[in-house]
Amino acid sequence: MNRVHLVNARHAVLCLLFLGSAAVAAPPPAEYPDAPPAAVPGPVVAPTPAAATPQDVPAPVMRPVPFAPPLSPAPPPPRPLPPYPDVKAQKNLPLLQAFLPSLRTLGADEGVVRFALVTNDVRGRRPDVITVASTTARFEIRPVSDGFANNLGLYTAVLPAGRYHLSAIADRVAFRWIDFNAAAQGGLGSFDVRPGQFADLGTLMLTPNIGAWLIGRSLDITTPPEAWREAAPVGEKVLAKLPAGGSWSGEAFQQRWFEVNLERGPVGLQSLRELPDGRMLAPSALGKLLVRAVDGTWSTLTAPRPWPLLWATAGAGPGEYVALTEWNRCVVFAADGTSREVSLSGLPTGRALFVSRSPQGEWYLAQEVRGALRLYRATTLDAERWDEVGAVQLTESLWSGNRGAWALDTPEGILLVQGSKGLLRHFRYATRAWEDHHLTGNRDIQSVDLMPDGTVSVLTIAAGGFAGMFSGAWVTRDYGANWQELNTGYTVKVSPLVVSGDGHLLQAGGVFGESGIKVSTDSGKTWQQLTEALPVETRLFQSRQNGLFAIRRIAEVHDVLLRSPDGGANWVYEWSSIGRAGIERLLKAEADKRAAKAAKRAAAKKKQN
């Protein structure tokens, strides 16, 4: 399932709650926490005995890994640390806007700065604003890559000559704001802007770590010149006339350590899907395509660039995969493990979010462009022209914000879902025709799930007027022609129902009560608690041949993929972005916390009785 990013009032509130809790829960330590938190036993996840995963590497992400043998047996003397900037004083500086080089004649005391930022985070996008601070002012720099990229931000600006630190970044659509503390600013180093010169600061990388975010200067990754030329054609002409000068001052520490570990832990799993032959694909950040073979082993394929992969499907040739990436490009992974980029130059500027190949050999691609999710068709990926086949609108509501749109692969074609008025548009490959249906009562849809047998399960928008305070769970087995509303196990519903392989209904939930999964074996008449080991925001994925999967996020930023061998009662580890050891430690700590809470509740109940 591929969903256009949404923000509504509830999303904003949840984000604020999350950010608030993160700020409270993670006070800044003086130094990076090298030692892991104490492991606490707790039966949450039964480990799989010999499941080979891409994270089965010697070191978990938290530990520094030497990247080269020491040249001398004697340890080198410790390098002097760069001075930390006065972060408090920065806050009191005037906040000014940094203008693009294309919008300004360079003053005598001004220079130009340019850098890229790759974010190892599928939930977010590239930051909208990056704030840099000198000793006299702060400047906000905005990206020029909007419309091309999600997790790759390209930033360029004219700044007064001087020395700057990176002060903060913000994703203002997702309501995320990250301040760089003194340790981060000092460790990253400062950069100089020189009069009449152009400083290329290279590529920065931002990645989640347990309870915090890490930022580093990449030694390995460069942003291609053509990306800059496409994003800022006028600005690049200005820069071409300027001499290079000014860069980072001071050496960032352990960059190689940072990068090696970053490579091991791409965040992903947003678009997990199963191919007809049982293989599973999970496009991920940093150009990694995670592939689960039919025998259950995971492997990782690497794209030519570390840009996030958004959606993947089977390619035209045997053993080939195609994954959408940034910048109107896709990556073709060949059966021999090599990969190449293909430019989707025949498409308009927009965000490509979904691709599929019909049995007739035609490519279908859905792109967010001009306020709509539009489906295009071409015979080859590098076609000079893509024909628009149909579209659904991305709309807004006076009452509760934006409405999303989804593109889904069905056994017979492609389903476009429009959140507003619950419109389902099913395109059949065989007839090349659309069938349009609305959800009963034209209810607005907030999320959609597609089962392997073609059953579509949706959750309606909450707060839909009188008697519609809570979301409703509906299913259709004919792409919207007939709908059935089902009673569910939770009053407050956060995800659509999932129909398991044996026909049972499953739902994750528990906003105000015990979180977990409930099951109904009688079409929703009665519900039983199946497990309490999963949090409310868990997403369930029912595959055709590989059973039931759960995708959940832990410590706010890490993805964990679990698989249930018994329809949801027990779960085993499959994959996570920080490796098995790290994630099991976190899961055990979480289980312990849950057990302590349950014990406290039981004690209180006993006392009450």
């Binding site: 330590p29 130094e31 990250i178 340790a183 460790g187 930022i215 800022a232 960032a252």
Partner: protein, 168 residues
């Protein structure tokens, strides 16, 4: 003009208030000479100036925060100047010759905008004098193209922060 969600109306209303109230630095009688001083222009060369809110939106996501400023134009160039509260003076911001402007669009809505295509998206000047400004630009050879739609005002970010570490 379409009805927009509360999320967009409220910042837009705030922008309306700020257009009149949040640019106290702008005084139509004195702004001309002040802008000329800030930009190093000859006295009397600024032919047009107005209080404005400017915002830089992306190609796809046509929503952004707006900032109080003043826009001005002389015979050859369009300027946007910010107010530097510390120095109590205008600060040069945008400075583009008309010949370098690809096009200019006028959007008529609750708040009129002049929209200019720029690297990365669109620059919107939200001002009560949008129509005269647009006409001024077109009269000086800037191509007039229809607006692709409103650039929406976005609320400022949540004040909550989380912290970033780097390995040491």
């Amino acid at each position: 003009m379409n009805l927009r969600s509360l999320r967009y109306w409220l910042p837009l209303l705030a922008a309306l208030c700020s257009a009149g109230c949040a640019t106290p630095f702008y005084d139509a009688k004195t702004a001309g000479p002040q802008i000329e001083t800030a930009l190093g222009l000859a006295p009397g060369s600024v032919a047009f100036h107005a209080a404005c809110q400017f915002g830089q939106a992306g190609r796809v996501n046509r929503a952004t925060e707006f900032f109080p400023a003043a826009c001005a134009a002389d015979a050859e160039r369009l300027y946007v100047v910010e107010w530097d509260e510390a120095k109590k003076a205008y600060r040069a911001g945008m400075d583009v010759p008309f010949a370098a402007l690809e096009s200019a669009s006028y959007y008529k809505g609750l708040f009129d905008e002049v929209q200019l295509p720029i690297d990365g998206g669109v620059l919107s000047l939200l001002t009560g004098k949008a129509q005269p400004l647009h006409a001024y630009l077109v009269a000086r050879g800037v191509k007039d193209v229809p607006s692709a739609g409103e650039v929406l005002a976005r609320a400022p970010p949540a004040p909550t922060t989380i912290y970033v570490y780097i390995p040491r």
